[in-house]
Symmetry: C2
Subunit: 177 residues, 2 copies
DNA sequence: ACGGCTTTTTAACAATCGTTAAATTTTAAC
DNA sequence: GTTAAAATTTAACGATTGTTAAAAAGCCGT
């Protein structure tokens, strides 16, 4: 992020509102329409959806990450998933209208588009690992590439993220140690 | 696609070049830089990457679809995957510079962005099925939702698309019939 | 520090998957 | 149409996973 972009962001600083939440707080409930985008100052968040009574986590976010139910936020449609804190979390948040205002700034718009593309690339890489790797390899990739996920996220959430059960993850961990 | 958009596309008709390829023709080789975007008039195409000597297919395209190694095409970087015809295929194609020219048109740009978002949504749905469904359910979803994939794409390609081996797919098919 | 609750691990068994190899069917070239 | 090559199915076996249940470990509030 260069200086001119930083300045552009400062112009809109007044739009951002601070908030703090305890762990296990729903910031957005599956089926509701997203009105806010969150920027994590401190803490940890997961995105998950319900499938036959089971919670399936599919994304984790940490300090510096922006979190929103993007489609729901942009189109004002029901969100296909929930957003929930994992740790006590401090955020800055913004409503959709204010986000539109920021997007009007070309530098910020370009920056946000680039971040969206980066996230998509990471998403595709994670997806590819389901085609290419075994669950054990997927766990080892996570351990090597994003150790803070394993340090900070409860294993039950990680299991569904890897596409396996808690029991299977526990066995994999026992094999490696 | 409404009338004004159709007119906008017509303006750039002269940029599109026709080409025909036999089946199993590489339109882009993994590691090469993508220079073209293809629009399928007739036929069928797959995207795949090599992993330890095995071909892993992850997307299929049919008549009306636009196909390119998007990141490679946009950033002029090596493509992480190959693009290959499955059937004898007729396409219209365009080089990156001409695509930029078309993107300058607001209607076309909006249309292309919307299609990109649609594709991403479909991609995410496919990804979710790896977290939520068994391989058998994934096959049945494909059979119900995109029957032409099963009718036109060789089963060995479909197997890797579903994240399983050809043998396992064959067993699943035997169970269902 | 204590109890109660949640999370993680372990165990046992059935079901599914991967692997290798062979048999069968389909496809394509001459 | 015949034949060779490719694709698909079937078989057998070992490895991995899901499921259910119980045990162990960790966490939180009092």
């Amino acid at each position: 992020m260069d200086e001119s972009l930083r300045l552009a962001f400062k112009q809109f600083q007044h739009l951002w509102k601070p908030a703090s939440f305890p762990s296990k707080t729903l910031l957005l409930k599956e089926g509701d329409v997203a009105r806010k985008i969150f920027f994590i100052k401190k803490g940890c968040i997961r995105n998950w959806f319900n499938h036959e009574g089971k919670e399936i986590s599919f994304q984790f976010f940490f300090e510096g990450d922006a979190v929103a139910s993007v489609e729901s936020f942009n189109k004002q449609t029901p969100s296909p998933y929930s957003i929930e804190t994992i740790e006590p979390t401090e955020v800055s948040w913004l409503v959709a209208e204010d986000m539109q205002q920021m997007r009007a700034h070309p530098l910020i718009n370009t920056y946000l588009m680039d971040r969206a593309i980066d996230r998509q690339a990471a998403f595709i890489q994670h997806f590819f690992s389901f085609l290419r790797d075994t669950p054990k390899q997927r766990y080892q990739n996570l351990l090597a590439g994003r150790p803070q996920v394993i340090q900070r996220v409860p294993l039950q959430y990680i299991a569904s993220y890897l596409g396996i059960t808690q029991v299977s993850l526990s066995r994999i961990r026992a094999q490696i140690k």
